[in-house]
């Protein structure tokens, strides 16, 4: 489908596939990003056709560098794309602030995929505010067809304006699917050349710089004004509804689909209208003024924060003479929540209360018995590490060592599957968890609090991809400031959480191409940290090593725990050990260990037999890592190596 020449053919496409196809139709040449749900499939799809389509696609070390790599493509006259999840924009924002001032050449599009409701995130950050802060155009597709079409348009818009354009998707577009008609695909391979010998002030031929700032900033704001004028007639902004609606809904993105559904469900399409905006910054003032003048009540539907609402209110206030008085409903008055993702029910409830239309989604009695039955009969599915996951074993050793040490030590966590150690899955070992690389930065700070009487051992954890992304500067900081802390690098050989994208430590690139790998252990040593390695599946030795490093070593230390992810293509479906429980030795609930294996270690492959209270192995689920054999104090769990 991605390279299909069948113009007009319809496919059921995931939003991220539609975006990738749109970029291909636009003639994108360079694409870079850092993996993050819900954005990863855009780069993955492009990488899958990279050689055939003459594309350069890379997974960069972090979002800031990916934006820089994409910008280089643009500076050399190529169309380039940069993709990241919402919080990635924070990482890239310093370069972005300067990029928007220097301007771009070949069409350049930045696509952040936001995750309202934090379905796969530890925040529900907003990328839209960056468009306003950085003074660049913001596009928001309202359905799957638009995800493709607007991506394509974004490149030519960027070229017309001479600046980067932001296109924001959300989980419910990126990870949802709908009907998409393909457009024309005429790929050519343009030649790259960076021109820099022109006049210092010439955006097309001179050096690409931000100075002189007042001059460039004036130019930048001129581009934004031009964008606003272009947006007045954009087909991606449209009104559906009566001429003088009782209620005007202004919305964008997936919220357009929720709003349209709400009006249909309430059978109120004759009373209320929808102004669906595809260009949400800068707002096209004349279009807004025309529709605001025709309404007295306005409901603004968006997720998460009142971005549209604030901007529309400013515009309405500035034009109050022509527009007249309006009663606004939205986030600020509490009609809609400003946390969590939107859904049809929130919008139905808002409209039914504003227009006084009764609606029952679920009868109260049904809801009540449903909740009781579900609570009592469908046992909660807590998140856990996969069977055979090295993180369970790593945390077992870290947690045991800190307990044995008895000095109230703790772990500063980071971002990856291993963040789940805030849960029983990782024995609640993590005590702080924030952003990429922050565990080590925070630990670097904790490790300097000895002079204030803090003697607790300080440990941070960080995955291999996260180490390259933002952990390295934090480790440099810890070494330079001689912080008393231990960084445990949980190296499972890939960006596992988002689907095994390669990182600089892996000898391959986004398209599976061979690349040089960068050695984590060598980096740590050369930085000057005392560096150790361990195999977390060797539980006894790893636990001993962690304890020794905590008790006998001082200053900045690194312990690299190396063991591949259980889902990695090399490991999946291949058992190293056959594991079994000797029911003659297993004492079950009578064991003095209080069922350490099933109650505490909690591997899905190790079952507590409800009839006997004894442990047993679920052959289907067990991944054969053999770690549980080291957990049982009675030696009841046996492992034997599988013959290859």
């Amino acid at each position: 489908m991605l390279l299909s020449k069948s113009e007009g053919k319809e496919f059921l496409l995931m939003g991220n596939q539609a975006i990738a196809r749109g970029a291909l139709e636009a003639g994108v040449s360079v694409a870079a990003g850092y993996p993050g749900t819900p954005s990863s499939e855009i780069i993955e799809n492009l990488a899958s056709v990279a050689p055939e389509a003459d594309l350069y696609v890379e997974w960069s070390v972090n979002e800031k560098v990916s934006l820089e790599v994409a910008a280089a493509g643009s500076f050399a006259g190529l169309r380039s794309l940069c993709v990241m999840k919402q919080n990635g924009v924070n990482v890239a924002s310093d370069f972005l602030l300067h990029l928007v001032l220097s301007g771009t050449r070949g069409g350049m599009v930045l696509i952040p995929c936001d995750d309202p409701g934090a379905i796969s995130s530890v925040n529900e950050g907003e990328s839209r505010y960056f468009a306003r802060l950085m003074e660049i155009p913001l596009l928001e597709p309202g359905d799957f067809q638009e995800a493709k079409d607007m991506t394509k348009w974004a490149f030519s818009l960027s070229e017309e304006l001479g600046n980067v354009v932001m296109l924001r998707s959300v989980t419910r577009l990126s990870h949802a699917s709908g009907n998409v008609k393909l457009g024309a695909l005429n790929r050519t391979k343009p030649a790259a050349k960076f021109n820099f010998s022109g006049n210092l002030l010439d955006a097309k031929t001179g050096p690409v710089i931000t100075a002189p700032v007042p001059f460039r900033h004036t130019q930048q704001q001129g581009k934004l004004k031009k964008a606003a004028a272009l947006f007045e007639t954009s087909p991606f902004n449209r009104y559906e509804g009566p001429e003088n609606p009782e209620l005007l809904i202004i919305t964008s993105s997936a919220c357009y689909l929720y709003s349209r559904e709400a009006l249909r469900v309430l059978d109120t399409e004759k009373r209320a209208g929808i102004l669906k905006l595809g260009t949400t910054w800068p707002l096209p003032p004349e279009l807004l003024k025309k529709h605001l003048a025709a309404a007295e009540k306005v409901l603004i539907v968006e997720e998460v924060l009142p971005f549209l609402e604030e901007n529309i209110k400013i515009l309405a206030m500035e034009n109050i003479d022509s527009i007249g008085k309006i009663k606004f409903f939205g986030k600020n008055d509490g009609t809609l929540p400003s946390v969590n993702e939107m859904n049809p029910d929130y919008v139905i409830k808002a409209i039914s209360s504003i227009l006084n239309i009764p609606y029952t989604g679920m009868p109260e009695e049904y809801e009540k018995s449903g909740q009781i039955l579900s609570f009592t009969k469908s046992p909660n599915r807590e998140l856990t590490f996969c069977p055979g996951c090295p993180h369970r074993a790593s945390y077992w050793s870290i947690n045991r060592a800190l307990t044995l040490n008895g000095e109230n030590g703790f772990v500063c966590g980071d971002i990856g599957c291993y963040t789940m150690a805030i849960l029983p899955a990782g024995f609640g070992t993590i005590k702080t968890a924030h952003s990429m690389g922050s565990g080590t930065g925070v630990a670097s700070g904790f490790g300097k609090l000895k002079s204030f009487g803090m003697n607790q051992p300080v440990v941070s954890v960080c995955g291999d991809s996260t180490f390259f992304h933002a952990g390295m500067p934090a480790l440099v900081n810890a070494v330079h400031n001689n912080s008393d802390m231990l960084l445990v690098i949980l190296d499972n050989s890939g960006t596992a959480m988002t689907g095994f994208q390669p990182h600089p430590g892996i000898p391959s690139g986004a398209a599976g191409n061979e690349l040089p790998s960068v050695d984590i252990e060598g980096i740590c040593r050369s930085i000057g940290a005392k560096t150790f390695t361990a195999d977390p599946f060797n539980v006894a030795e790893t636990e001993k090593k962690v304890l020794e490093i905590i008790e006998n070593e001082r200053g900045p230390r690194v312990l690299i725990m190396r063991q591949g992810c259980a889902l990695s293509p090399e490991k999946k479906g291949k058992k190293k050990y056959n594991v079994s429980v000797d029911s003659n030795i297993c004492k079950g609930s009578d064991c003095g260990c209080n069922r350490l294996c099933t109650r505490v270690f909690r591997c899905p492959g190790l079952v507590c037999d409800s009839a006997t209270g004894k442990a047993m192995i679920d052959e289907i689920i067990c991944a054969g890592c053999g770690v549980c054999a080291d957990i049982c104090p009675s030696g009841a769990i046996k492992r034997s190596e599988v013959a290859l």
Binding site: S177, L373, K377, T598
Partner: protein
């Protein structure tokens, strides 16, 4: 067909929920319907519940989330998940096709939580919906050669209810696009088996 027709496919990470939704969605898209699929697979590999919402319409695309209480068909790849979905999206008239094979949550595995017996679950479901059919899809799939075929059996069972304009040939062409030629027949066999099984569900 009720328009839009709202389907929820529910199950547990690793069961192939997303693939089942695509199979069903693609079959209906081929038949000329607008199809929207909303997927929640953030916790997919980590033991969590996974749900796909499908909206089928002749008129236009609908939103990727079904409003509360408005499901028309629930396809449960794992039995207790049907109850969880009913509590949020159910109504007396919703139809349920559910696999009987449990996948135990880690809380059950480690002995902290109880998992209901199938008759017990069936009577809980019956309190919330009038037409729930349990079929031994996994068992049948294993008999056919591979447990992964249980999803095709479940899609076949959904088709067998006769609520959706699913054309066998359209389904075959979707399968053909997604599996090697040698596997087409076994998938079609699983699909036909599902259609047949839904007419003769497990009795309690």
């Amino acid at each position: 067909m009720i328009d839009p027709f709202n389907i929820i496919i529910t199950g547990v990470g690793g069961q192939g929920n997303v693939l089942a939704a695509r199979m069903l969605g693609n079959t209906l898209a081929k038949a000329g319907y607008y199809v929207t699929i909303g997927e929640t697979f953030g916790a997919s590999q980590r033991g969590g519940s996974v749900m796909s919402h499908l909206r089928i319409s002749k008129e236009s695309a609908w939103s990727p989330q079904i409003p509360k209480g408005k499901a028309h068909l629930i396809i449960a790849l794992e039995p207790v998940e049907s109850l969880r979905v009913l509590a949020a999206y159910g109504n007396r008239d919703v139809k349920i096709v559910s696999n009987t094979r449990p996948i135990y949550p880690v809380g059950v595995i480690c002995g902290d939580l109880a998992y209901p017996s199938l008759p017990d679950l069936n009577s809980a479901v019956a309190q919330l919906c009038d037409d729930a059919r349990f079929i031994n899809a996994t068992e049948e799939a294993v008999a056919l050669g591979h447990p992964i075929l249980s999803n095709v059996i479940m899609v076949g069972a959904a088709a067998g209810l006769g609520l959706l304009p699913i054309d066998d040939e359209a389904f075959k062409s979707v399968i053909s696009e997604n599996v090697p030629e040698s596997k087409i027949e076994i998938n079609m066999k699983a699909y036909r088996k599902g259609k047949e099984m839904v007419g003769d569900p497990v009795k309690f």
